[in-house]
Structures are given as C-alpha cells and as structure tokens.
C-alpha cells in the first residue's frame, strides 16, 4: 500500500512540474498566475496524501494554508493590477 501511495505522489509531483512550464511559456500575466493556482491545489493534494502515508497529521494544516494562500496571492494580483493602470 505504501508503494502505491509513493507512486501516486511521484505522479502528482511530476504533473506539478510540467504545469510550472506555463510560468515560463505563458504569454500573459493571467497564465502565469493560473500556474500559481495549480501549485496551490496540486500541492495541497500532495500534502494530504503524504499526511496519510506518514501518519503525520500536522501536514493537513499545511495543506489548508497552502490552498488558501494561493488564492489570496491571485486576488492580490488582480486587485493590484487594476489599481496600477
């Protein structure tokens, strides 16, 4: 069972890595900030899996904070971008 969890974790992290290519490629700023949102959701899923795998339940709190902080960064980006123009 632990092996299967590890394989799922590695697949999730690889998908996160490929998603981050959009930050390098992305033509507009919105694409880049969307990749940051991807980082938040995939990262919190990874942390939840890891909390169950290692039975270290404090990681659930980290997952919660990561999920909220990604969207707060996005809201700040949108609001500050409006103000600058």
């Amino acid at each position: 069972m632990d092996t299967i969890y590890s394989v799922l974790l590695v697949v999730l992290l690889l998908s996160l890595l490929f998603g981050l290519f959009r930050i390098i490629l992305g033509p507009t700023k919105a694409d880049r900030i969307l990749a940051a949102q991807l980082f938040g959701s995939v990262g919190s899923a990874t942390l939840m899996l890891q909390a169950v795998l290692t039975e270290n339940w404090g990681l659930l709190d980290v997952a919660m904070i990561l999920a909220i902080l990604a969207s707060i960064a996005l809201i700040a980006f949108v609001k500050l971008g409006d103000k600058k123009e």
Partner: protein, 105 residues
C-alpha cells in the same frame, strides 16, 4: 489489503488522473479562457476524489472534518480565482479593442 484500501486506491487514482488532465489542459489549450476552464474544473474534481478516497484511512473524527474543510476551502478559492482572472482578462481585451479602433474621436 482489505476492501477499504481498494476503495482508497480507486478514488485516489481517479483523482490523480483528473489532476493530470488539468495539467495537460493548462499546457496545451490555446487561450486563457480555456486554460481557466481546464485548471479550475479538473483540479476541483481531483481534490474531491482524493479527499473521498482518503476518508477511510483517517483515525480520528477531527482529521476527517479537517479533510472536508480543506475540500470546501479549495472549492471556494478556486471558484473565486476563476471568476476574477476571467473578469480581468475580459476587461483588458475590451480596453485593447477600444484602443485599436480606427475612428473613435
């Protein structure tokens, strides 16, 4: 490996598949709007499936509620960010189209 482990395995694998679909959409779709569509919808479903799969593995009622709260937070934040990014992109496109019009006076 008992029945609940197979349940967990099925749901977590489905969730990971949806995450891969979301990442592929973010990389391959041609437009900001379609990228928002791929990312926020597929990733929400992936997180939900992983949470449902992990529920039989937790030992405590407290951890269970925490997992469910994480899911609700991700749903809310993803919906809000989807709408905000789409709104900002739309405003920018309208501004660009107005500026590029030849006779505005």
């Amino acid at each position: 490996m008992n029945g609940w482990d197979i349940f967990t395995l099925t749901f977590c694998s489905l969730g990971v598949l949806f995450f891969i679909a979301g990442t592929l959409g973010l990389l391959r779709f041609p437009d900001v709007y379609s990228r928002i569509h791929a990312l926020t919808k597929a990733d929400n479903l992936g997180v939900g499936l992983i949470v449902v799969g992990l529920i039989p593995q937790v030992s405590d009622l407290y951890q269970l509620f925490k997992l469910l709260i994480i899911w609700v937070f991700i749903l809310i934040s993803s919906a809000i960010s989807c709408h905000l990014v789409a709104q900002q992109e739309f405003k920018q496109r309208v501004k660009k189209a107005v500026l590029e019009q030849p006779n505005v006076n």
